[in-house]
Symmetry: C2
Subunit: 159 residues, 2 copies
Amino acid sequence: MSSPATSQLQDEIRQRVPFSSIEQEALLGILHTADVIRRRTAKVLEPFGITPQQYNVLRILRGAGCAGLPTLDIAERMIEQAPGITRMIDRLEAKKLVSRERGCDDRRQVVCRISDAGQELLNRADEPLRVQSASGVGNATESDLAALVKVLDSIRAAS
Amino acid sequence: MSSPATSQLQDEIRQRVPFSSIEQEALLGILHTADVIRRRTAKVLEPFGITPQQYNVLRILRGAGCAGLPTLDIAERMIEQAPGITRMIDRLEAKKLVSRERGCDDRRQVVCRISDAGQELLNRADEPLRVQSASGVGNATESDLAALVKVLDSIRAAS
DNA sequence: AAACAATAGTTGACCAGTTAGCTGTTGTCA
DNA sequence: TGACAACAGCTAACTGGTCAACTATTGTTT
């Protein structure tokens, strides 16, 4: 227990509106909400033994089909940098969910492909994720969400 | 080299992975936008030699004043777990921006305080951050942002 | 052909989030 | 008083994002 003086001060801080503007409130709200969404998604995927980022990679590779996709093409489709992709695919390969092989036409490339096990895992995970995202928007209406998406686009397009 | 404009990235994702619902589009939009905001904030803080999370800790400690704050109380005010806080304060202490001492009334606690150097750094960083967040919401109006905040609250409150 | 730049990917090092498990301290209760 | 649960904080180990530097291959230029 802290001294009474500091606990009162702490309560003031806890209750004090930490936003100096509606802009800051909106931006911090986005960060906070993104954390909540990430945690929920991780929880849904946990029984499958993969993380949200690993799920994203698998989904991208499923979209690429049996032709596979070079490593950096995967990074392009995510918000991520190349080094992170390399190591994420290291882990997916260790779990036998993807395979890699040096490209034959351009020997600099490393073509990644989803494995049968990866396909199957993905198919099992799709439905729980869809259900979760459907219930995860609270009581927001469709037009609420459409407006949300529009404002988010505007924020991403800003300087 | 393709331009890294965020709206293009969104377009790309939209093409490869069609959204199965407006709900998923909204949730993914929040995640993408949060990443963009995080990156922008990191860039503003980079000249000051601290990360956004470290800035958050310093701001919390500034709010606590000279009384300081126990380690876990800081974690409570962030979205974070205790171990992360411990190491973050390790780094802030190494930079001489905060100080720590074992509590004298409850010897389990470790009270953290912002240093003068930390105060000064914070004061210098406040204005650039405020400017950035003001310009970082694009052309969204105040009522747009108010609606955004409301929908975000609803999403966080959802299951 | 030799030199050069560009490209694809990897590695190392750092910061950060998460979980599990640990030490030391405090309060409680038999 | 001694046993014990609860608490504050820490370490270890894993996943992950970021930057810088590196190797190997390819294309270009002279």
